[in-house]
Amino acid sequence: MSIDARPGTTTVAVTATVNGRPESRRVPSRTLLVHLLRDELGLTAATVGCDTTSCGACTVLLDGRSVKSCTLLAAQADGADIRTAEGLADGDRLHPVQEAFAEHHALQCGFCTPGMVLAVVSLLQENPGPLTEHDVRHALKGNLCRCTGYHNIVRAVLALDGARRAG
C-alpha cells in the first residue's frame, strides 16, 4: 500500500441519522457535534454549559448511548444514529422519561433537562434494574443541575424503574 498524499482534510462530510431523519453536512474538521446539531441543524435542545465534559447539558444519544456532544467531533459521529431531546416525543405524546419528569416536577430552570432526560433514557436501556437511589445518583453524576433539583429527578427515575417492572 502506498501513501501518496498527505492524509487528512480541513473539512469533512458528515452523514448521520438525526432523530430518525438522514442529514448530511460538510463542516470544518474541528467542529464539535454539539455545534453541528445547534448551528447547522437548528436542534438547540443540547446546550453548551461547561464546555469541559463535566455538566452533561450537551448529552445526546449516539447509537443509543449517552455521550457529551461537546466532547465529540462531528466527524466522529459520521454514520451514527443520533437522538436529541427533540426526537424523543412521538408527536404530541411525550416519551415516558419526559412524562415522568413532568409528573415529578423534575426540572426547575430547564437548562440541564434535555441532557438529564437523555442520560436517563440511556441508563434505563443499559440497566435492567432494579435501581437503588444510589445507582441513580451515580448514573447521573455526569449531569449537573445547578438549580440543585436532584431529588425530584431521582424520584422520577426511581418511579420509571418501578413502573417498568410492575408493568
Binding site: 492524509p7 480541513t10 474538521s29 464539535l32 455521550v67 466527524a75
Partner: protein, 276 residues
C-alpha cells in the same frame, strides 16, 4: 471552545492506520474515544496537525480469553468492560477500575488503549493494569512488541510508544489475583483521583503519587518480609515524588497513600465494593 484548526482522517482499518503511522509518524495523532484528547485540544493545552481517527478500527474492540491471559483490544470502550462475563470472571478489578472512570457518557466513548496512550498519572484503568502486571502490545506496520504496563508511561502524557506504533492490545496474565482491591480518593464531582491504590495479591500500585503510575515496591518488600499492614503501609510513599498541585499538596498525597494502602491491604478480598 473549539480545537484549533486541524486535519482529520478516519482510518478504514488497522492496516491503513499502521501504514499512515509509518509514513507520517507524529504528524498524525491517534484519536480513540477522545475523552482526554478533545478536552485538551479545546483548552488549547494540546495541538495536533492531523487527527487519525481510529473510531472505525472496530477490529480492536474485543475481550477474549486466551491460554494464559485475558486479552482486551485497545479500542474497547470502558462501558464494554462493565458486566462483561469474561472480565467479571477473570479480571473483575478491571471492571471496578472502569466503573471509576468519569461518568457514563465518558465511559461510552473512552477506550482502554486511549487511557494508556494518554499516560495520565492519575488514570484508573492504567493503575489497575499495573497492579495486574498486564502487558501492552505495541504494533507497527512491520511488527509488534510487548511492554509491561508499568513501563509504558515515562512522564505525564509521554509513553514509550514510537511514532510508527499504536497500542493495540492489553494482556492480563491469568490466573488473576486471588485477592485484590481498588481504592480511590477523589472529590466526588467528576474529579480525577488525588491518590488511588490497586492491590493484586502481592503487587501494590499507586496513582497520583508521581509523574507516572508506579508500583509501591517498599510496601511489597515489607509484605514479602512478613511485615504487618501498618508497617508495610508506612512505606507507601517510599521513592515517590508526588506533585503539589490544585488537587492536593505533596505532603497530603503522601499521607493519603499510606492511609489508602493500609485500607486496601486490610480489606483486600475478592469482592468489589468500591467504587460501584
Amino acid at each position: 471552545m473549539i480545537p484549533a484548526s486541524l486535519h482529520y482522517h478516519r482510518a478504514r482499518d488497522l492496516t491503513e492506520a499502521l501504514e499512515l503511522r509509518r509514513a507520517y509518524g507524529d504528524q498524525l495523532r491517534p484519536l480513540a474515544g477522545g475523552q482526554s484528547l478533545l478536552p485538551a485540544l479545546k483548552l488549547r493545552r494540546d495541538r495536533v496537525d492531523t487527527l487519525l481517527d481510529l473510531g472505525r478500527v472496530t477490529e480492536l474492540s474485543y475481550v477474549a480469553h486466551r491460554d494464559n491471559h485475558l486479552a482486551v483490544g485497545a479500542l474497547t470502550r470502558y462501558h464494554r468492560l462493565l458486566g462483561d462475563p469474561l472480565v467479571d470472571r477473570y479480571a473483575p478489578l478491571l471492571a471496578v477500575a472502569a466503573a471509576a472512570v468519569g461518568d457514563p457518557q465518558v465511559r461510552h466513548l473512552g477506550t482502554v488503549g486511549g487511557a494508556l496512550a494518554q499516560a495520565d498519572p492519575a488514570a484508573d484503568l492504567p493503575l489497575a493494569l499495573v497492579a495486574l502486571d498486564a502487558v501492552v502490545v505495541l504494533r507497527s506496520a512491520t511488527g509488534a512488541r510487548t511492554v509491561p504496563a508499568a513501563e509504558l508511561a515515562v512522564a505525564p502524557g509521554v509513553t514509550v510508544c514510537r511514532p510508527d506504533e499504536l497500542v493495540t492490545e492489553i494482556r492480563v496474565p491469568l490466573p488473576g489475583p486471588a485477592r485484590w482491591r481498588y481504592l480511590t480518593f477523589a472529590r466526588p464531582a467528576l474529579e480525577w483521583s488525588v491518590v488511588a491504590v490497586a492491590v493484586a495479591d502481592s503487587r501494590v500500585a499507586l496513582a497520583g503519587m508521581g509523574p507516572t503510575i508506579r508500583r509501591a515496591y517498599g510496601v511489597e518488600a515489607a509484605l514479602a518480609e512478613g511485615a504487618g499492614v501498618t508497617v508495610a503501609a508506612a512505606r507507601a510513599d517510599e521513592g515517590c515524588d508526588p506533585p503539589d498541585d490544585v488537587r492536593a499538596s505533596a505532603a497530603y498525597r503522601r499521607h493519603l497513600s499510606r492511609v489508602l494502602v493500609a485500607r486496601a491491604l486490610t480489606d483486600s478480598g475478592s469482592t468489589a465494593e468500591e467504587p460501584r
